[in-house]
Amino acid sequence: MPADKIYEDLSIVVRRATAVFHVLAVIVFLILAYYWKVQILDFKKFWTLAEANRTRTLILTAPRGLILDRNGVILADNKASFKVSLVREHLKSLRPKFPAISGVLGISEEELRDRIERYKSLPPYEPVIIKDGLEPEDIAPIEARRHEYPELEVAAEPKRSYPFKTLAAHVLGYLQERTQEEIRDNPARNLNVGDMGGGAGIERQYDEELTGRDGSVLEIVDSLGRGQEQISEQEATQGKDIRLTIDARLQKKAEDLLDGKEGVIVAFDPSTGEILALASDPTFDPNRFISRFSPEEWVHFINDPSSPLENRAVRGLYAPGSIFKLIMALGGLDAGYVTEQTTVFCSGAIMIYGTPRSCWFPAGHGSMNLPNAIKNSCNIYFYTLGRQMGIEPIDAAAAKLGLGELTGIDLPGEKEGLIPSPEWKQKTMKESWFPGETISVSIGQGQLQVTPLQIALMTAIIANRGVHPEPHLLLQTSAQAGRGRPDSSEAHAAEGVPPFKTSTFEAVIEGMWRSVNDHGTGQEARVEGMDVCGKTGSTQIVSKERAEMLAKAGKPIKTHSWFSGFAPRNSPRLVVTVLVEYGGGGGAVAAPLAGELFSLYRSLQGK
């Protein structure tokens, strides 16, 4: 083929090349179809994403509601402070800047890294707060170098402040940064990352009321998170104010009385259930928790063996000691085991179930009737009564006076204590009940566990001759202010039948009156002209064997000292319960503290 010499036959390769192009064209049209899907069918989805990309919501943190005492004294306030946040777009290019940033803000690089690691899962346009609680003068050097650190964002925020520092710390509680879980699980509450929320006490109990509604600013940003222009702004609304039943003056006195001790003072109005003072020592300053960055403070407080963060009034569990004799007396009288005039002879010791039991007064009280047995806190009388009654009626009486169950106070984390019973022992210890244990319970020892607030409530029920008040701390919120008293405590108190006959109460109250006013164990609580009625208790907190060993070694055995009482005898207005851990005798240590509080109350009422 001569033509072959000039042009070879290329038809196969040309055909193949053309075929390749056709395949390619088909692929291109398939790709085009995919672009159709993304741009036309999924347009809405991507458009929304693009909008979310370009806009950012700046949160304007709402101030929390104030917390006031019953007379309007501000216990928890807000003051202006500044926080610095880090915008994390392009985090990789940001990492080399960490040393400089930590230098400017005075935080450690490690802390900075931890902080960013913690919020890794947040979308990158959400800034992470890396420093807070700054004063205006701290902000100036940062603002001056803003151009070097465009990724830092400075914003004002209201900061909680407790002007009286430790005053009523356990009532007020403290703030904690909200966890991501809390924010996620409460979508309706509109919480935001970095918000501070109630961590304990009233701050926690009424967190929803105290928390305001955060405002927001919608602004257009670039990919570095730099604001370009504002689109809309919604102002923050402050949370509701809360007025407590606490009287700051009584509270202050209670805390001063406890200063340097470990213990509790509760004072409340038995007719309404309003708590006037609730002090727990050792205490803490909630101002120290306000920063989001106080890990050392936390570790310090949590590791402190004296647990200053615990509110002992509602979470401390103690044996009631001789105060329990009031319950014995009520139960015994009411069920007819004894009458007011039944006497028991106290020789200072007694053999029960083959075990010698002694009275705290070794010489013996002699012949005791019920009021005098309360007045002198005679062990022998109540051992005898306990042996007569057996455990069930004792437990029933304790339950009627609110032991073994929550008082229902509006504070988080309250404990219910324990009234030991044969069933309970069988269930938890797989052992049967020994009669000797009943004897221990008769004087408030053994497995009995109560909180100081339960003792206060029990005292109030006695003072009210059976009417059960509901102890509470909330007087009113600002939302209720115009509508009078929403929480009509009297109504609560009125419901239910008195657990014991009125005469029974009168007999026991007579004993309590004598204890304070007739040279009984509670005489240190006496206030001239106030008719204080009360009962002391000294709780043995070590086993008998251990106590004997200590005694041999000549070391003092310190008991928990209790006093719980009310005044005046008729139409009582104040219940005071005092517990001093390792204080010694209740009459010597706890009773005088209660006396001082009663007398301050009297002088305040007199004004």
Partner: protein
Amino acid sequence: MMIDRRLFREIDWTLAGLVLLISLLGVVFIYSSSHLLPSNYTLKQLFWIGISLVGLFLMTAVDYEFLVSYSIYLYILINAFLAGSLVFGRIVAGHKSWLSLGLMQFQPSEAAKVVMILVFARLFAGYKSPYLTSRSIAVPLVVGGIPLVLVILQPDLGTALTFVGVLGGGFILVGLRLRTILVFLALALVLGVGGWKFGLKDYQKKRLTTLVYPHQDPHGSGYQIMQSRIAIGSGGLTGKGFMKGSQSQLRFLPARHTDFIFSVIGEEFGFLGVFVLILLYLLMLARMFLSVGKARDRAGVYVVFMASMLIAFQFLINILMIIGLFPVTGVPLPFLSYGGSSLLSNFVACGLILNVKMRRFANV
């Protein structure tokens, strides 16, 4: 002048015009996506288009036959450059593929694309049987393998991929039996698994996994894909308007004037813009591929076909990549993306096609 007037008239002005049109459209979008950046990318790109045009016409001046026969020397030279850049190259974006030559920075791997076309054309022109034999496979595999390995070592997976495209295209043209295809597939599988296990760097693996799960890594390589998809998808039918794309104007879209320029078009001009541009590309590619029939000899066919494949392959990978159907491998959109080396090599490849086409008569 080496080129006479008759030849000048034979130049496919339609193709040259399409290429220039696409390049100039690119300048418009580069302006839109980079006008906020400190450097003037628009002017730079215009300057490179000028240089590339000169390159294109210079490429038509010498008979491709001459270039093909001397391609072996170019091949040796380019491999030396590639090896040199491995040792002396400046690291740009994690690659060593930039070689600093005085004032100009130059990417030898871009030039290698053109040289590969010429070398393969020379090799394949000798294969006259209708199908590739096992013996005829070995030589091009070795010839292509050397620069391929050098490019992979840069490491520049994108360019390596276009090499494979060009070589694969060549093989198709030579003729593949089913058996050969199966062997290649098996080989690819082995290389793929082996490469994943031992060869790929972590960032490269991440790009592959990101393709399947872009939401797992919204800060890293998944970020690019997600932002690009958001840009394209939010463009809708008609787009947000020139210079009004929030994704590109507010800088959410990374590499928006280079590899991701097509996303800007998708965002600002919508599906209509995408459609028109893809159609323009298809027109240009048709013009290129169908020039195969105008070649006077086998070498010419291969030059045209592989040059067309080079551009088509980059085009395909890029429009797949920016919408999240292909890993982010750093393949620019030919003629449209910002970048001098890529622009020049693609113009030169186009010049080769023009060269073959204008010399279609053997007796010239």
